[in-house]
Each structure stands twice: as structure tokens, then as C-alpha cells.
Amino acid sequence: MKLSGADIFIECLRKEKVTTLFGYPGGVVIPIFDKLYDAHDIHFVLTRHEQAAAHAADGYARATGKTGVCLATSGPGSTNLVTGIATAYMDSIPLVAFTGQVPMSLIGTDAFQEADITGITRPITKHNFLISDTSKMADIICEAFYIASTGRPGPVVVDIPKDVSTTTIDFTWPEKPNRPIGYKVPHEADAKIIKKTADAINASEKPLIYAGGGIIISGAHEELLKFAERISSPVTTTLMGLGGFPADNPLWVGMPGMHGTYTANMAFSECDLVIAIGSRFDDRVTGNINGFATKAQIIHIDMDPAAIAKNVEVDIPVVGDAKAVLNQLLAVVKERKPNGWNTYIEEMKNSHPLTYGDKPGVIKPQYVVEQIYEVTRGDAIITTEVGQNQMWAALYYKFNKPRRFISSGGLGTMGYGFPAAIGAQIGQPDATVFDIAGDGSFQMNIQELATAVEQKIPVNVAILNNRFLGMVRQWQELFFNKRYSGTNIECQPDFAKVAEAYGACGIRVENPADVTDAIKEAISIRRPVVLDFIVDREENVWPMVAPGAALYDIMEG
């Protein structure tokens, strides 16, 4: 069969069951876009910046569990994807990013719009490829999707020189998919290790389950619930793990770490056994490592051997898939009845709830998040930007199901939430989607209002507008003598008017009494809505563990 590289590319997307592609055109990818023009089964979403294409594909992946796909041209198109790729890499998100490249004969000549994107993305991808020959196109794309979506998932970049997509070859489809020789996907853990793990769990008086994003990637939320209830263990879920365990379950103690709950952080300090599942002991979780879980043995269950013992000493390392390992443990772990430890945890939860002050006539940002939770009955998909908005969303919206909280955890990318919300809404058209945003972050990808309007999607943005880069301001208030260097952003547009200018709907809310109705109204409007909540300017995120402090030195405001 005579096929061009671009023909093979489109056919490969079909074989990988890709139905949505986010991207932006440019010179060297015109041959691919030309074929896309006739591929009516592939929904192409034109973003207004390549960075947003990568974030939208990432949001789509997190909301659906499928691999997100984006496409950009060579040079600046590809470098604009970089932040999105790094974001997906840090949070182990399956993403395949296609980039155009100058023709093979021009590579290395500083040609127009040339950038060495495989070199640039080497440390921020799970793997990357340069397709040097049209005959390799099908094998490489197949391998790229396999690598991105299996094991510990991650982004894969595939760089396609222009001549590789225009050359026509006599092509037959490979009979079996190409697989890398040295690539292993861990599944069940070694039986001896499971025995040792079960013994430690059975002997524990004060266990604490510390579950992360691995629960969601592995789809292990039901197994986690059974396991926690079997051993009556308190459960803390990380930012990436929110929704991996139901927030309305009495065993849940909230999120741990720098802005975690009092109970979660004290539970780490008091427990005799930490059972880490699909979490990686991030510095934002552990606080000062010397004061972390000093009375506990540590079991670390993870898909990635390199994640184990990276930040803390681990007593029992378990390499395996979270779901498979939990099933192995469920077969051998004994029931543990609630004891004094459970009572102690319960008392802590009651005596240290999340609270915030009240100021008459002023909207509290936490209240906005609470009201979004109330109105959506906890069933919305929430994306966030990064900073205070992210922490308030994580603390005050209660997630009972996985894939409902979508946030840049590892890289902490401002500007992520809005394009991710667009991707999530396209992946889950029936869901109610809110991007809980800050006025700073939203401006980093505000141009995507055009994408949302063009796609006719009912995505909502709730700006917690304090006219500050709030999280940095909070640190300046607490640790830098209130010297607000570079954080005052009072000069800003009227966001509601900007939304209207783009053809979206804009609602400005200044009175606490109007918050709930505005949220209800936004949901009822079946097109993009920007809610601009003018909130208390200098509200802080509490609780907080100061940088460098141990978890037990938590400040509650």
C-alpha cells in the first residue's frame, strides 16, 4: 500500500483509539494538518497557545484515564509545549506529544524554526523519539503510546521531520507491536515481601495509610477502601491522591504536609507504621525529614523502584502495582478492630477542624470553595491553578471519587488549571467542571477563553481574586516582614468584561450573599463562564508547616 508519512500518522492515531487531539499548526506540520482536515473521526481542538494544548491533553488524560495527545510545530511550537510536558512528567500523566521538525537534511543547521526538542525534553519525558525514516513511523508511534500509558505513566515526545511526513512509501502494517527489550512493567509483588508486609501490618497498633496519586493511576480506590476498613487504619491522601479515598469516610484524616490537616500531620508523628501506597514522600509532604514519622516503621508500595528509598529510609520496600499489591495484601491481612489509636485520631479531628475567620461583607475564598462543593454536591471535576487557590480547593472541596481533582502537584505550574479544565470537559462532556483559579494564574492562559468559546463547552472558572500573588505574599507576610516584593497585582483587567469580550459569560461577585446564586447561575449557563469573586485580600492558607520545620510544628493560624 502506498502511504505518506502523514497518512501513516493519522492511521496510527486511529489504531491507538485517539478521538481528541489538542494542538496548534505551523510550517513543518502542514502536511499532517492537511490529512487531519479529512479525518472527521478525530476531534481536533485548536488551542490559542501550544502550552495550553499540552495542559489540555494532560487534563483530558487525568479526567478520563486515557492517554492525552497533543501536536505542535517545530521550534517555538515545540518549546512552548515544554512546561506542559514537564507538568505531566512530574505527576506521571500519560501524554504523547507530537512535534514537527525541520527536514532531516536541515537538522543541525540552525534552520528556520529548528529546536532540538528531543535534547530539550530528555530530562522531562519518560522517553522520546526522533523519527528518522517514514518506514519507522508506525512502530515508533505504537511504542510511544505503550510506554506513555504503562508502568509508571509519563509523557513521551515524538519528533517528526517534515520530509518524514511527506515521503510516500510502500507500506505494510507491522504484524505485532514494537516493544522495547529492557522495559518491564511491574505487576504483583514478590510473595516473600507480601508476607513480610502483612506481618508488619498485622503487628501494628497504630497504622497510618499514606496514599498518593498511584491509587488513582492504578484504579485501586475500591481496593484501598476495603483494605483500610479491614485494618481500621486512618488514611491520609496526598494532593495527587485526593479522591482516591472517600473524603466522607470516617477513616479519612485529610491531606498531609505543608498545608495538610492537623490530624494528618500529627498522625505521621504518632503512628507506629506508615503504609505508603503510590506516594513518593515529596518534601512538601514530609516537612523536615529528620522529624518525619520518627516512631514508625515504613512500608513503601510503589510501581517505580527508583521512587523507593529516594527521600526517606524505608523498612519494607514493595515493588508492584498498587491495585495488584492491595489485592495480594487483602488475601492475607487480618482484621484489626478500632482501638485507642482510632479514638485518639477521632478526638484530634474533632478538636482541630479546618476553620477560617469571618469578615462581614467580605467574601472569604474558603467560603467560595465550600459553596462550589455544596452546589455541585461534591460531584464536579475541579481543576486548580497553583498557589492559595490550589490549597483552598484541596482543603475545602471534599472529593469522594477519583479523577475529580486535577491539579499540577509536582511541578506546581501556574496557568495549568484553565486549559486542563477545557481538556477535562472535552473528555467528560456531561460533567460539571470548575477551574478554581487565582487572578494571577488565570492570566497565564487567559487566551484559552477563545478555545472554550469555540468548542462550545460549559466550563466554569471561579477566580478567587485577591489582587495578589497570594501564596508568595503569604510567605512574605510570615517570613519576609511583609515586604510584598513583586506580588501586588492590583493592575488587572475586569475579568468579567474580558470573558464577555471573548464571547463567554462573565459574572463579578463582591458580596458574600451572592456567592451561591452566582455559582448556580454559572452551572445553568451552558457555555463558558468566568466568575470573578472579589475575596479578602490578605487571607492566608492554614494550617501551615513552615518550610524546614517538622510536621508536628504545624501552625493553625
Partner: protein
């Protein structure tokens, strides 16, 4: 502690950059690195000599194992392997010194691979210590140039799969 790491990789472009990138991004300096084909032309073998903190090195080795193009990583235990490197030394050599230099080379079982009017090139293979010893002896004559390979290494006996000879990192 000094480590001798053998990395079996798929022979694809970019693989050397991926491997060396893991060391450099952690501020690790590779002492020597040798790459070449194995009996299977699709597969290459790298021998990497590196010094450093064992905990960080363990992390680097785990990260190496994660690279898609890497098939196998082994950290050889001292004494369990044979290692060899090759060096070429160009010595400043007036004819009156020739005999003495050639005698020294002979003792080291090094070869004279080129003789000119004012210089001589010696090729030596063997352990790093052996090469160093020869360099020291030849220094007084004036070493004009030196080029050396990194060490290539191989476990002894039919024990490629015997884990006693390698440091264990698999968890």
C-alpha cells in the same frame, strides 16, 4: 567508593546522552566511560567508572534501569571482574634514550607502535594501576601526548547471572 557499572543498552542514537545525562544532572562526574558493540550489533555495552556517595549512586543506578533503552545495569563488586583499559603515550625521545624507553615498555608488555626521529608512541593495555605506573616511569623523558580509553570490564566465569558478583539494588 569507586564503582564499576556495566550498562547493556539498545544501540540507538541518543542513548549515550540519556545515560550520561543522569549522572551530570546530579552533579556526578563520570571518571571514565567506554562504549562499544557486543556480539549482537543491536546491543551495546557501556562500562562506567564513577566515584561518589553510595546512596546517591544507588538512586542513579535505579534511574539508569528505568531508561527505556537500557536493558540491564550491573554494579560489579571489587574482585569479581576483569577490567582493562588502553593508553597511547607519545614520548619525547632522542636516539640515546630509545633503548631505555623500549626496555621499560617491554617490562610492562607495552608495544612500540610508532618510532620517529624525536618521538616514540607506546601502546599499553591493562588495569588503570598498570597504566599509571608506566606513566610515572616515563614522565622524566617527557610525555608529549597521552590518549586513553575508559576501562572495559566483564564478570569472571559463567556467572553473568550470578548476583553474588554484583551489588544488589533491586528492591
Amino acid at each position: 567508593m569507586k564503582h564499576t557499572i556495566s550498562v547493556i543498552v539498545e544501540n540507538k542514537f541518543g542513548v549515550l546522552a540519556r545515560v550520561s545525562g543522569l549522572f551530570s544532572s546530579r552533579g556526578y562526574n563520570i571518571e571514565s566511560l567506554a562504549v562499544g558493540m557486543t556480539q549482537d550489533p543491536k546491543i551495546s555495552r557501556m562500562t562506567i567508572m564513577v566515584k561518589g556517595d553510595d546512596r546517591i549512586l544507588e538512586q542513579v543506578i535505579k534511574q539508569l534501569s528505568k531508561l527505556i533503552d537500557v536493558i540491564e545495569v550491573k554494579d560489579f563488586k571489587q574482585g569479581s571482574y576483569v577490567g582493562s583499559e588502553l593508553a597511547l603515550l607519545k614520548i619525547s625521545c632522542a636516539s640515546k634514550n630509545r633503548t631505555e624507553i623500549m626496555e621499560i615498555a617491554n617490562v610492562f608488555q607495552a608495544k612500540i607502535v610508532d618510532i620517529g626521529h624525536e618521538s616514540i608512541i607506546i601502546q599499553i593495555t591493562g588495569s588503570g594501576e598498570k597504566v599509571d605506573a608506566l606513566v610515572q616511569l616515563l614522565e622524566p623523558f617527557g610525555i608529549l601526548e597521552m590518549a586513553s580509553t575508559g576501562m572495559v570490564a566483564m564478570l569472571r566465569g559463567l556467572t553473568e547471572r550470578n548476583n553474588e558478583n554484583v551489588h544488589e539494588y533491586e528492591t
